[in-house]
Every structure is written in structure tokens, then in C-alpha cells.
């Protein structure tokens, strides 16, 4: 292309959404630790409330620190806008409740983070929203599960914990043929490894607690709107295409065009459900994003070394990592995730659950806890912790075995990590 170019990814991680503070000249993003904002006069107050002028009213709805984070993730993902939420779960809930109400239906991958599975399987049915779970490796299964009242297809870029790689373009085509959007949980990959919007997804969210924040210090979520979906081209989304009595009969799709979804999510969902992010949390996550490219590359480099080490280890039955030739999604991985498949993977230890317990207790550097995406290396046994609510059939369907151990590889020296794994594996086989 002739002429100037867009700022590149690494530059956006540092600058997108922020201009040096006009009052103080502060270069870093200030933490606006305030609940509310003084209006210049009554006219300005009325204009901001009525959406005639931009501005902040109350930090549940928007906050200047959060706004930088929101704009930054929208820029990195190639979207039109974003909303920072109290957690990844809050972001997912916000997406669903913006699109639908009682009587609606979701088609979802069955390989999900345990919390997402809970929300869809147990909690939302109480509010009249049902979900059909399907095998993410069978795109036709998504199509077969569609109903007239389906309003959303949902899946993770990388299934948890089996690392099923989602064929996003194929699933997006199925969603769009049905006139519904595709929502992606992109937590494990971050925009450094995969930008789902470039593959056809319409909406995405992150648990920013994980790799985006990157240091295990703050809980947060981010919901991002691609602006691609044609809401007015369907009669399935009255929240976006019909007058909203809660805001002077505003019709979001007519008034906001490509930003209709994210505008409704803020003007209704964040306002009414209130699952907002604290500005201090936004600051922590922004600090993480500033080094995202450097950290993600190191995460991947370390992971590849550990995968190779475990792959040939005599105490290991198998390693589940899509870059390995035997993984069922190996070819898809090359197409969708050429820079890497992230730093979370699972392996099956010889000796089942008992060996898994000895392994975890034998580790000294890996921390045994329920999280991923920390700068520090982490380990957990999914069957007894994150996915303990699933029965044996559901566990099997999600690809979780009794001997499966999940690692989240951190930024430590890889040789120290390998020695730690050897220590645990040695203990496991006694």
C-alpha cells in the first residue's frame, strides 16, 4: 500500500488508547481512582447522560483508565471497541445478556473452561437460556445443533484443557449462514498468537487475568466487538434492532452502526448488571499488555522446550500439544496459529490419579493453583479441581482423563523448569 502504515502490533501494545495526560504530562497511564466526574454545567451533564457528548459519568459505566485499556485491546484485536469487566466470566455474561433473553439457545463447544461450562450448563438455564454442547473438532456438529431460537455460537480458540484448536473460519461460516454471531474465548492465545476477527469471529472476550495481565495480580475481563456482524440483516436481535425504552427508544444498530453491540453492552449491561473493572486493575493489566509480545514469545519458547522434554520422558504416557505431529489439530494449528499455540498444555502421567498427586507434590518451582497465564509456572490436576463438577461421561467428552496434568509454563529459566518436572516425575513413579 502506498503512503503511511498503521502502527504495528508491538507499538500498539505500548501506545494504543493513550495520550500523555494533558494536565500533568504523565507518560504512564494514570490511575483515575474516582467514582464520579464533575460536570462543567447542567447542559454538559444532560448532554453526557443523553449520549450527545462523550464523557464519563460514573466509574461503573466508564472510567478514563479503563478506557485506555478498552481501546488498547480493541486496537490489538482489530475491533471497534471494548468493555473492561470484573472478570472473564463477567465479560462472557455481558456478551450473552446483550444478545438474548429467556427462550434463547446457544450452541457451544463442549471443551470449555470449567467456569464457562458452569454458566452455560447450570446457571443460564435458570434464566431460560439453554445450551447444546458439541464436539469442537466437528464443525458440522455446530450446524446440526442449531435451532430456530439459536442466538449465538460459542467456543474457545484453544479448548480447555485438551487444546482442541477451533477451526474458526469454518465455524464462523456456519454461524453466519444461520444469521448468528460467533463469540470466541481468546484467553489462551491473546492477540499476539491469534486474532479471531481476522478469521471471521464477530465477538470475543478474554480473561485478562491470564496472559494479558500476565503476572497473576489482578482479576479482569475484556469484551471486544469486531463491528462486522450485520445486526439489521437479521430479526433475531431485538436488543439491537428495536427501540430501547431504557434509552429514549434508541435503536442501537441504526444509531451506532458497526458499534451497536458494544454500545448496548455498555449502556445497558454494564450499567445494570454492574460487573465493572476497578481502575487499579485496569492499570495492572495495561502494564502487562505493554510487554505482551516479549512475554508471549518467552512463554512459547519455554513451552516448546518442556513439551519436547516430556514427549520422550519414560514416566509420561502422552503429551497433548497441537504442535506435535500426532495431535489431531496439527495441520489446523499451522494455519491458524503459526506463531505458537500458547503456554498451557496437558500431559498424561503414567500411574493415573495417584501418580498425578505425587507428581504435583514433588514439584518445587511450579505452583499448584487454579490459574494459567502467570509469569510463574503453574500446575493443576483438572479432574479433581477445575472440572470437578463434570461427571465421568462429561470428563471423557471433554478429553480429560484421571491422569491428566495441566501446566501453564512461565518465564523462568527453562532448564530449571525441566529439572523441576524431572523431580516431580521421579517422585510420581515411586
Amino acid at each position: 500500500m502506498a503512503g503511511p502504515r498503521y502502527p504495528r502490533f508491538d507499538t500498539l501494545t505500548l501506545h494504543a488508547g493513550q495520550r500523555p495526560d494533558p494536565t500533568t504530562g504523565a507518560r504512564a497511564v494514570p490511575i483515575f481512582q474516582t467514582t464520579s466526574y464533575v460536570f462543567k454545567d447542567t447542559d454538559q451533564a444532560a448532554a453526557i447522560f443523553n449520549g450527545e457528548r462523550p464523557g464519563h459519568v460514573y466509574s461503573r459505566i466508564s472510567n478514563p483508565t479503563n478506557a485506555v485499556l478498552e481501546e488498547r485491546i480493541a486496537a490489538l484485536e482489530g475491533g471497534v471497541g471494548a468493555i473492561a469487566t470484573a472478570s472473564g466470566q463477567a465479560a462472557m455474561h455481558l456478551a450473552i445478556t446483550t444478545l438474548m433473553g429467556a427462550g434463547s439457545h446457544i450452541v457451544s463447544s463442549r471443551s470449555l473452561y470449567g467456569g464457562s461450562h458452569n454458566l452455560l450448563c447450570y446457571t443460564l438455564p435458570r434464566f431460560g437460556i439453554e445450551t447444546t454442547f458439541v464436539d469442537p473438532r466437528v464443525p458440522a456438529a455446530f450446524r446440526d445443533a442449531l435451532r430456530p431460537n439459536t442466538r449465538l455460537i460459542f467456543a474457545e480458540t484453544l479448548g480447555n484443557p485438551g487444546l482442541d484448536v477451533l477451526d474458526i473460519p469454518a465455524i464462523a461460516d456456519i454461524a453466519h449462514d444461520a444469521g448468528v454471531p460467533l463469540l470466541i474465548d481468546s484467553t489462551f492465545t491473546t492477540p499476539y498468537l491469534c486474532k479471531p476477527f481476522e478469521h471471521g469471529a464477530d465477538l470475543l472476550f478474554h480473561s485478562a487475568t491470564k496472559f494479558l495481565g500476565g503476572h497473576g495480580v489482578a482479576i479482569g475481563g475484556l469484551l471486544v466487538d469486531s463491528g462486522h456482524f450485520d445486526w439489521l440483516g437479521s430479526d433475531k436481535f431485538p436488543t439491537l434492532t428495536e427501540p430501547y425504552a431504557g434509552f429514549h427508544n434508541l435503536v442501537f444498530a441504526e444509531e451506532f452502526g458497526p458499534a451497536a453491540f458494544i454500545a448496548r453492552a455498555r449502556k445497558e449491561g454494564v450499567r445494570d448488571f454492574g460487573a465493572c473493572m476497578s481502575p487499579t486493575t485496569a492499570f495492572h493489566i495495561l502494564q502487562g499488555i505493554e510487554t505482551l509480545p516479549l512475554r508471549m514469545q518467552r512463554h512459547i519458547d519455554n513451552t516448546r522446550k518442556l513439551v519436547a522434554h516430556l514427549h520422550t520422558h519414560p514416566a509420561v504416557d502422552s503429551v497433548i500439544y497441537p504442535e506435535l505431529a500426532g495431535h489431531p489439530d496439527h495441520e489446523l494449528t499451522k494455519r491458524l496459529l503459526p506463531k505458537g499455540v500458547g503456554a498451557v498444555f496437558s500431559f498424561i502421567i503414567k500411574g493415573g490419579r495417584a501418580a498425578g498427586r505425587k507428581f504435583i507434590e514433588g514439584l518445587q518451582i511450579f505452583s499448584h493453583l487454579a490459574n494459567v497465564g502467570d509469569a510463574k509456572s503453574l500446575v493443576i490436576h483438572p479432574a479433581s479441581t477445575t472440572h470437578h463438577r463434570m461427571d465421568a461421561d462429561a470428563l471423557r467428552a471433554a478429553g480429560i482423563s484421571e491422569g491428566m496434568v495441566r501446566l501453564s509454563v512461565g518465564l523462568e529459566d527453562p532448564d530449571d523448569l525441566m529439572e523441576d518436572l524431572d523431580r516431580g516425575l521421579h517422585a510420581s513413579q515411586k
Binding site: A2, G3, G17, P243
Partner: protein
């Protein structure tokens, strides 16, 4: 609301208000490849402050059926046909970029129908570079990228959208992507071929506001100078640290300029 003009469906945004005959009317005309949503904040303000607002989608844009019109003079005549269809005898016409040419030509061709004119991000000529025209002719995404990059000021390239949480670069690209194939090329060609703007400017009798931006690379202030000197009753506002996409980059400043001009310093 939707209505028929020349037997084709046309969409106009009215701020979710009915048009009231006793109220003054503002017609907002968007730029090339865009639609009424670029006026989101400004149109909503006036709709809720005693004005009839008609933020139109030109044929082939937004929710109005095509094909796109050309040349600029035809678009100007169509604006008056739309006003006829809405029962609006006279209006203030506010245009941005290509829309400013349409507004200018509407004022020149139909002086009895135009009470005031506001021309935002404007220049005569409004020349379009060959690389941009070629990309638009080929429906190449590079055309959207060029407009987005050249259209925003230096700081806006990295964001800082006044509307919390919105990424204005992404929003501009997406809006352009929503335009049907061929529409942007038709618009840019119309801009490029519009050669009589200075003659039309000299024919204007109504008050005219020009809102220009210091970092505008699409319609630079230097090119607009001759236009300024061609209009009799002209008021000029320069926005500092702002690019061509002033409606998103500095919505408050644009609104304030329009308020001062349209309310005559009142309210």
C-alpha cells in the same frame, strides 16, 4: 425512518424523534463511503434541543438503496428531493468531506431551500490521489486503509477516542468496509470531478461556516483558502491537533462550532 425518493428506499436518522413542522431543520450529509452514523453525537444533540434532524444516508450508503449518485450536482438535487419528500421547505445543511461539496452545491443550486451552510473538512478542489482512486476502483481494501490513515490526525492514529472504550481507527475501517463494492469509487470520482465549487461558492447568499482541521491531509487548510475567500458571509473555525475525521476526533469542538453558528450565538 425510511421513505421513498425516486421510488427507492432512503433511510434518514432523526434522533428517534418525529419531524415537527414548527421546528427548524438541519440536514446532515456524510462523506465518501460513509453513512449517517458519523454524525452520531452532533445529530443526537440537535435532535434533543429543538431541531428536526435529518442525518441522511445517500443512495447506496448505509440503509439507503443504491446505486450511488454522481456527480455532486445530482447528489445536491437529490437532497432537495429528499427534503420535498419529508415536507421540509428550508433547512440548514451541514456536510462533511464529500458531504460538504453536496451541501455547498445544494446551497448554490437551491438557494431558497438552504438557510445556512456548514462545510466541515472541506476544500475546493477536493482532489483524490491516484493510488487511492485506483485502489477504490479495484475494491481493494487498501482504499479503506488509505482513507483511515490519511483521515485521522497524528495523535488519533494511536487512539484516545473521546467516547470511552471506542477505537476510532477500527470504527472508520469497519464503516468503510460496510459500503457496497463500487460505492467508494463512485464517491471519490465525484469528488475528483467536481470542478465548479468556487463558482458555486461565489453564488452563496446564506451564512456559511467552515470547520477545518490543522492536521487534515485530505482537505488541507491551505487548499481551502481560496474557498474561504470565495464566500461572502463566511465564518471559519480551525481545530488544532485534529485530522479530517473531526466528527470522531473532536466531537465536542465540532458540536460547539455548529451550536454557535446555528443558534446564532444563543443557547
Amino acid at each position: 425512518m425510511k421513505l421513498k425518493v425516486n421510488n427507492k428506499t432512503v433511510y434518514v436518522y432523526t434522533g428517534t424523534k418525529d419531524l415537527i413542522p414548527e421546528q427548524d431543520t438541519i440536514v446532515f450529509v456524510h462523506g465518501a463511503g460513509l453513512d449517517h452514523t458519523v454524525w452520531l453525537l452532533q445529530s443526537r444533540y440537535f435532535a434533543h434541543h429543538g431541531w428536526n434532524v435529518v442525518a441522511l444516508d445517500l443512495p447506496g450508503h448505509g440503509h439507503s438503496h443504491g446505486p450511488a449518485l454522481s456527480p455532486i450536482e445530482t447528489m445536491a438535487d437529490w437532497v432537495v428531493q429528499l427534503m420535498d419528500g419529508l415536507g421540509i421547505e428550508q433547512a440548514a445543511v451541514v456536510g462533511h468531506s464529500m458531504g460538504s461539496l453536496v451541501a455547498l452545491e445544494t446551497g448554490a443550486r437551491h438557494p431558497q431551500r438552504v438557510k445556512r451552510l456548514a462545510l466541515l473538512g472541506t476544500s475546493i478542489p477536493l482532489a483524490v490521489s491516484e493510488p487511492l482512486l485506483n485502489a477504490a476502483r479495484n475494491n481493494d481494501h487498501a482504499a479503506f486503509d488509505m482513507i483511515t490513515l490519511w483521515g485521522h490526525g497524528h495523535a488519533a492514529q494511536l487512539g484516545g477516542h473521546p467516547v470511552p472504550g471506542m477505537w476510532m481507527i477500527g470504527n472508520t475501517v469497519r464503516l468503510l468496509e460496510h459500503s457496497p463494492p463500487g460505492v467508494l469509487y463512485a464517491d471519490l470520482t465525484a469528488c475528483n470531478q467536481y470542478q465548479t465549487g468556487l463558482v458555486s461558492a461565489r453564488q452563496l447568499h446564506c451564512p456559511v461556516l467552515l470547520v477545518l482541521a490543522s492536521q487534515d491531509r485530505m482537505t488541507p487548510i491551505a487548499i481551502a483558502e481560496e474557498l474561504i475567500h470565495s464566500i461572502g458571509d463566511v465564518h471559519t473555525v480551525i481545530l488544532d491537533d485534529c485530522g479530517h475525521m473531526m466528527l470522531a476526533e473532536q466531537p465536542n469542538q465540532v458540536l460547539d462550532a455548529l451550536k454557535t453558528f446555528l443558534f446564532g450565538g444563543q443557547n
